[in-house]
């Protein structure tokens, strides 16, 4: 088991290194040098340009730059924002908390709701209930999250807050009212993001469960006189939860994609919205920093899911 964990850890660290390196080279494959490209201002003097080069570390040879980059990334330093002229790590760090406030509950709701729908579909496979829910789920799947957000805004404009995380001036309010303001702002984005993810999880649960329900040990259980829903509850669903954890972990990228869209539409001050803003202002260090943080989160989530799988499945205990 320890060896298994160690092995997964090595793989995760390797993946993080690859992502960091990717980030480094993305920045360097820009046509022309990045500073000229980013600050294409004819008024810029040579002296300022050199200072900019130095401040971004671009005056050194490439391997040295790469080494410095790795070193800085390891220390959590991700460069400076072009726009805010603040450390990227600080900006991203602040936003990360806000993203978690939105994504955490949304994922939880989606997993519970999606699993339930998936179980119902698999259990009633082939019936109208299955076809009906399946159609709905596919509709969920095909609908872009941001568009759902736009529709919800149009529908609830004036009824519930549709933008930001707090009402203006909320920081001066007492704590309880501040929380109230946060909750009211959370409702619509939460619905939007859960909506997007529920369909995914329902599909995954349905497919996994249908596989399991066709296995021999289910027939055996039937031949022993158990009720169908007992078999579902005690044999099929627990066995489905294992592959579910892996598949959910693999699909964390979807959660992030959904978060970017939801946060953008509802101006939720999280990493996703930060990405959108940095795209509009061409603030590349922030864009890449946000991406890096997302990728690292995803790799870590995969690592945790692998460990959980190894822990819960007796067959994997090495």
């Amino acid at each position: 088991m320890q060896r298994f964990i160690l092995k997964r850890l090595v793989i995760s660290l390797f993946l993080i290194w690859v992502v960091v390196t990717l980030n480094f080279f993305l920045f360097r494959i820009l046509p022309g040098d990045p500073v000229r490209f980013l600050f294409n201002d004819p008024r810029m003097t040579e002296e300022i340009r050199q200072r900019l080069y130095a401040s971004f570390g671009l005056d050194k040879p490439l391997p040295v730059q790469y080494g410095l980059y790795l070193l800085n990334a390891a220390r959590g330093e991700l460069g400076k924002s072009f726009v805010h002229l603040e450390p990227v790590a600080k900006i991203v760090g602040e936003k990360l908390v806000n993203t978690i406030i939105l994504v955490g509950p949304a994922t939880l709701i989606a997993i519970i709701l999606g699993s339930l729908l998936g179980v119902v579909m698999a259990y009633r496979r082939g019936t109208t209930t299955d076809t009906g829910i399946l159609g709905m789920v596919l509709l969920f799947w095909a609908t872009p999250t941001f568009w759902v957000g736009l529709l919800i805004i149009v529908a609830f404009l004036g009824v519930l807050p549709t933008s930001g995380m707090f009402a203006p001036g909320a920081s001066y309010l007492p704590f309880s009212q501040k929380i109230g303001s946060l909750l009211s702002h959370l409702i619509l984005p939460l619905i939007t993001l859960s909506f997007a993810l529920t369909g995914q999880y329902a599909m995954i649960m349905r497919n996994t469960l249908i596989d399991i329900l066709s296995e021999d040990f289910i027939t055996t259980a039937k031949s022993r006189g158990f009720r169908d829903h007992y078999i579902l509850r005690r044999h099929a669903v627990p066995n489905a939860m294992l592959p579910m954890t892996t598949i959910i972990a693999i699909n964390i990228g979807l959660i992030m994609g959904g978060a970017v869209q939801t946060e953008t539409v509802f101006s939720w001050p999280g990493i996703g919205r930060l990405m959108y803003d940095s795209i509009l202002t061409r603030d590349y260090p922030v864009l890449q920093g946000s991406f890096l943080v997302m990728a690292v989160c995803m790799i870590m989530a995969n690592f945790i899911a692998d460990i959980l799988y190894g822990f819960f499945d007796p067959r994997v205990r090495y």
Binding site: A142, T143, W147, L157, N207, G257, A295
Partner: protein
């Protein structure tokens, strides 16, 4: 034969085909649009549906129906080409990493792992931002990132195929590896690929729209994603201009759904026993 089966047994697939046919026709003959989609009109900003403008106008007074019709082309174009690139990469990597599992298939698999470990949409945004908003770039970026799923499916199927006795027989009668891959593995993988490639078109369109909405679409072309981006950036939403938001969104959903339905039905017909992982 397969098309006939599709019509006979599968209403959803048939509906998918019909809807798709409409959009394909629109993308080839956008001249059917009632107005020039580029013509702006200062006096008709964000007007609701009327007899002249059936679906109203946008924030610079363009006819929304015409914009929607012209927008079909970009989505289908990006969808098909990006899915094509993805399928090509995915099938190649899938077959080779499966067939040469013990040797250089391993690094190929690690490569797939890397791509699977990275959040797709954020990476697309970063790449598109770095490369610049251009239709070709969007195709390449989406095409180069969506192949992982198909590669995994093809790989795991190749691994099972490789263990089948008929491949062992090929070795026993002296087939070369190239012959085995091309004449024995590839034809067996093909039906699986076909259905999944169609599902990929749906994904590619979904991502194209999203990337455009998030401000990285090609501003020189009309597309559904860009329409929604402009709607979002202008005050259209605050003025509840539902006629501006609904049509492109509905078109996106219909297109994605039609590809999904066709792909799923094909998958079920061609691979009744195989379930996607």
């Amino acid at each position: 034969m397969q098309i006939g089966k599709l019509i006979k047994h599968n209403l959803s697939g048939l509906v998918g085909l019909l809807v798709l046919a409409v959009f394909v026709v629109l993308s080839f003959f956008p001249q059917m649009a009632p107005h020039d989609p580029h013509r702006m009109d200062k006096d008709k900003i964000l007007q609701g549906p009327s007899t002249e403008h059936l679906l109203g106008t946008d924030e610079v007074g363009r006819d929304i129906l015409s914009l929607v019709i012209y927008g079909a082309r970009i989505s289908l174009l990006v969808g098909f080409f990006a899915a094509g690139i993805s399928t090509l990469i995915g099938v190649t990597i899938g077959i080779f990493s499966g067939y040469y599992d013990q040797s250089w298939g391993q690094p190929l698999m690690r490569l797939t792992d890397v791509f699977l470990a990275v959040p797709q949409l954020p990476l697309m945004l970063v790449l598109a931002a770095v490369l610049g908003a251009d239709i070709l770039n969007v195709i390449v970026v989406i095409g180069c990132l969506l192949w992982t799923q198909i590669a995994r499916i093809v790989r795991s199927y190749t691994l099972t195929l490789k263990e089948r006795p008929f491949i062992e027989r090929c070795h026993a009668i002296g087939c070369s590896n190239a012959r085995i891959i091309w004449l024995h593995i590839f034809p067996n993988v093909l039906p699986l690929v076909f259905a999944n490639a169609i599902l990929l078109v749906a994904s590619a369109i979904y991502y194209e729209v999203t990337v455009s909405f998030l401000g990285l679409g090609d501003p020189t072309h009309i597309s559904w994603g860009m329409m929604l981006h402009y709607a979002f950036e202008s005050a259209a939403i605050l003025r509840r201009a539902y006629w501006y938001i609904l049509p492109p969104g509905i078109c996106i959903v219909l297109t994605v759904l039609s590809f999904t339905f066709i792909g799923r039905r094909l998958d079920e017909i061609v691979n009744p026993k195989l379930r996607r992982r």
